[in-house]
Amino acid sequence: MSGFEFVLGLGDDALVAAQRLAQWCARAPELEEDVALANIALDQLGAARLLLGYAGELEGEGRDEDALAYLRTDREYRNVLLVELPDRDFAVLMAKLLFLSAWQRLRYEDLAAGDDERLAGIAAKAVKESAYHLDHSALWTVRLGDGTDESHARMQRAVDEVWPYTHELLAEAPHLRANWLSTVDGVLAEATLRRPDDGWRPGGGRDGRHTEALSYLLAEMQVLHRAYPGARW
């Protein structure tokens, strides 16, 4: 049996990542990439729905997935900061997705073999999707990193910017760190990118202390439900 806060954190990571990815719809470089990113966003949303639904049951206070998604403020969200960071450009999006999906794949693999059967079922479904997200972001990281001078510089800057936020991600399951590093190192090396030095370690997302970016993201995600509670298509 897992704790409410733990499952909520996993669900919030997926939900906020889904919302960020969805913001690329109609803004990616080509129609084909729009569809690919929307696919990944929907995978994350699917995992988020299952996780939040389960979290609500664990809490036992009658909150369903919608209540948890639409009726909590930023302070009540438990996602890591990495997923809420604004995607300043396509390189930042890919750096975030690379680090997140490499992590989610290991994490879900681990949970799929765990004692909590309900969580294991959700994780077993999500792990195949994470492998695909990792594949997609790795391909782009390599193409941008080992591309033109401009794309290399921007991809390196994105990796440098996002890197500090990976510590919060890894802190939760230190036994997966070596495996995560070897995946990420392999991609960065192929992309001719430098792995940044470890320094600043921002955190606090799991305790509800977020960047201001999350408030804007939630405002957009929640506005309809808050204005018209229970609205349906």
Binding site: P29, E30, L31, E32, E33, V35, A36, N39, D135, H136, L139, R143
Partner: protein, 93 residues
Amino acid sequence: MPEWPLWEVFVRPRRGLSHTHVGSLHAPDAALALRNARDLFTRRQEGVSIWVVPAAAITASSPDEKDSFFDPAADKVYRHPTFYEVPDGVQHL
């Protein structure tokens, strides 16, 4: 930004069937063309195998040549095996 090249996509619906042309897409290279094809054409379990081919690598017959290419076949019934009668007593045909 220069536009990504065009790729033709072929999907095999299940084992034992041939790959069939399903459409085309844009992608910067073959690996990404394959991923894009997966996202665009096999979202609903349409296939078990995908081929992508650069559209520029395909040499196609021209609609202008339709008459000389295809019409002559119309009145040559002897090209069909059913045109021929098999003589009685032929054993190894």
